[in-house]
């Protein structure tokens, strides 16, 4: 896993696996997140590791080297566990990473797998004390009789070392699989959501959490809906939203009640009866929800579309964008091979004018909300060399009129899915996770948001 580099694609040349890129499952990237300044980019993978990239400072001498991301630190965040009561493994896969806003020289991030959330401190060390009286340079205790004079230890520069240490472990609060974590704007609390419950934590307290949403029915056989994603409002520390598998969004106010089972607002688009099929509910399930930076809008992703909602209008979305409507006629096959359950994430750009989400065949899509233009791009070694301009792609119906470089729906590779994408908080830099590869694209021409 690492930044896309100028290496010749060798994966296709394995003698015994000519048709497949052999991917180690543990290397599959499962989450991508920029920190609040965009200086750091963290990725988590199925093997429980976190890799942090840091953006190089801009250099006037070499304009091309400005703003490139290099590996800053790698650490093992979660290990596989075994639940002895249920005789089931707990995966070490990192489901989500969220950065805390920076308050001192160190950086903090939360990482979570299905059951346990951890707070990590990432700090730099570039000086070390030298000149101890009782220890020699290797740290061995000196014989006191050899000490003839005293000296004051001084700090000398050393090679930069990045240290990562676990500061908190928030465990045993979730019976079901954690799907989201979100840091509150008060910078003191955060929430974690699993399929049926949402818990509120204080960052300093690990042995206690407060349950704020519980949709578990008294009788599990009555269960028809689960929580799929949740997020705090970026500015109002009392508001949060959670999405469900039935395509609804619920905005909750923590001031109203301790247990926020009753929503303040319910966002739901009425179903189109003419489009109803057995798959209607499944494709309406919301896989990701994100507040806009302004806090005024919500972006949701379901299987075929991305929708922008106005917080003041619950009856229907403000805008609906078709991500890959050509799959609508293939839902039965996608149900059969389980692709219909893929959970795609979505992202806003810094100025909330463009939204982005992934698709199949290593394609990802961007929609400009103002101009209503959209583009399909591909993240792959073959189609992009470093510093080359990405070429827009097009998917056409099977047998339809094809331009050069178009790809037919039937040729799409459904094993290459872009589920995780992230957008730099202020600049036009995006991070795309394609299976075990991380791609970082920058828009040099339009660095400024507009």
């Amino acid at each position: 896993m690492g930044e896309d580099t100028d290496t010749a694609p060798t994966l296709n040349h394995h003698g015994f696996l000519p048709d497949h890129n052999y991917v180690t499952e543990a290397d599959i990237i499962s989450t991508v997140e920029f920190n609040h300044t965009g200086e750091l980019l963290a990725t988590g993978d199925k093997g429980g590791r976190v890799v942090i990239f840091q953006r190089e400072p801009e250099s006037k001498n070499d304009p091309f080297s400005q703003g490139e991301y290099n590996v800053y630190s790698t650490f093992q965040s979660h290990e596989p566990e075994f639940d002895y009561l249920k005789s089931l493994e707990i995966e070490e896969k990192i489901n989500k990473i969220r950065w805390l806003p920076q308050q001192n020289a160190a950086h903090f991030l939360l990482s979570t797998n299905d059951k346990t959330i951890k707070l990590w401190k990432v700090s730099e060390r570039d000086k070390r004390p030298e000149g101890y009286n009782l220890k020699d340079e290797e740290g061995r205790i000196k014989d006191v009789s050899t000490v003839t004079s005293l000296q004051v230890p001084v700090l000398k520069p050393m090679d930069l070392m990045v240290e990562v240490s676990p500061r908190r472990v928030f465990a045993n609060a979730h019976t079901y699989h954690i799907n989201s974590i979100s840091v509150n704007s008060d910078y003191e609390t955060y929430m974690s959501a699993d399929d049926l419950r949402i818990n509120l934590w204080h960052l300093d307290i690990t042995d206690r959490s407060f349950n704020i949403v519980d949709i578990k029915p008294a009788n599990m056989e009555d269960l028809t809906e689960v929580i799929t994603a949740s997020e705090f409002h970026p500015h109002h520390c009392n508001l949060f939203v959670y999405s469900s598998s039935k395509g609804t969004l619920r905005l909750c106010d923590m001031r109203e009640a301790a247990l926020c089972d009753k929503h303040s607002k319910l966002f739901e688009e009425p179903e189109d009866p003419s489009a109803r099929s057995f798959f209607s509910e499944i494709i309406s399930s919301v896989s990701d929800v994100k507040f806009s930076h302004s806090g005024r809008y919500l972006l949701t992703r379901d299987y075929l579309t991305a929708k922008v909602w106005d917080l003041n209008m619950e009856s229907k979305p403000l805008e609906t964008y078709q991500v890959h409507d050509y799959l609508r006629s293939k839902l039965c096959s996608l149900y059969e091979n389980d692709c219909i359950f893929d959970k795609f994430e979505c992202a806003w750009n810094g100025s909330d004018s463009v939204i982005m989400t992934g698709a199949y065949n290593n394609f990802f899509r961007m929609f400009d909300r103002n101009t209503k233009r959209d583009v399909t791009l591909e993240a792959s070694r073959e189609s992009s060399k470093p510093r080359a301009v990405l070429k827009p792609r097009r998917v056409c119906a099977a047998g339809g009129k094809r331009r050069k470089d178009d790809i037919s729906v039937d040729s799409l590779d459904f094993t290459k899915k872009i589920l995780h994408t992230a957008w730099h908080p202020t600049e036009n830099i995006i991070a795309i996770a394609a299976t075990n590869n991380l791609y970082i694209f920058q828009d040099k021409l339009n660095s400024e948001m507009h």
Partner: protein, 303 residues
Amino acid sequence: MFLKGIKRKFSEPGEEPVSSGEQAPATSPAASRTLSSSYSLQRQSLLDMSLIKLQLCHMLVEPNLCRSVLIANTVRQIQEEMTQDGTWQMMTQALAAAQCPADRLVATEVLCRQTDAATQAGQSPKPVSVVGLEEGYHSEEVVMESDVETEAIMSTLSPASPQMSSASYLAGPFGMGPCWDEEEEDGDCEEDEEEDSEDCVSEGEEADEDHLSADSRTGEKVFGTFEIKHPVPPPDPGLEELFSDVDPSYYDLDTVLTGTPKMGPYDLLESLSSHGPTALSSSSSCRSDLNELDHIMEIIVGS
């Protein structure tokens, strides 16, 4: 497909396709008449697929609750629609008509994973690779000793394909339950717990049409559970309790610890469990399996 099989066996006019819809259906009102056969084939195939998916949720890692809930909702939706247009009623009546003691015996044999051919050959079906079934019936990865027909079933993706024979319907009821219930009928299932679910499905696939009537009977019990909120407790509650901790993951600790029997439309295995033990006694071929099962249970319980 199941409907075609029914037609052959019972020749109910109601099962005729739309083209010959002038015939008044024997039992149900006009709704079933207008139902196109390809739609009902697709719907049936979707139902089978969904039931298998629910059953295949039993893996080493805790299954995805969201996915299970969505699939279960789909199954419920299909069942509701089938109830509304009378297909459900027709099917249950057809299944009821198929009841007879001999069928129970056959059903038991099927449950014990002993097809006629396999019994004669003295073989037991090879466990199907987990990967193969996980990936939605890609026939390349499925290793089965069964005949080509079965492989055709496994590889067919199109719901309306005429290759889908009646055996694929069997995948529904027998693919449904968690593997532990199969163990009650046949201790051989214990060989490899992870692959049990696959064995159950492969068993369903392997049964040929002679077993259709028997399977229909069991299928009736299976579909019956959709409407039963609180089914009759199984005849062997001890057995239930022992295996109750192999429940789907969305049963929380309370259910597991109190050992309450599994209930509800989610666990379509209910019907099988409530009839498995009684079926056992009616077949001598399964008695030895029962002894094996006892032996294996002793190991598990550690007594």
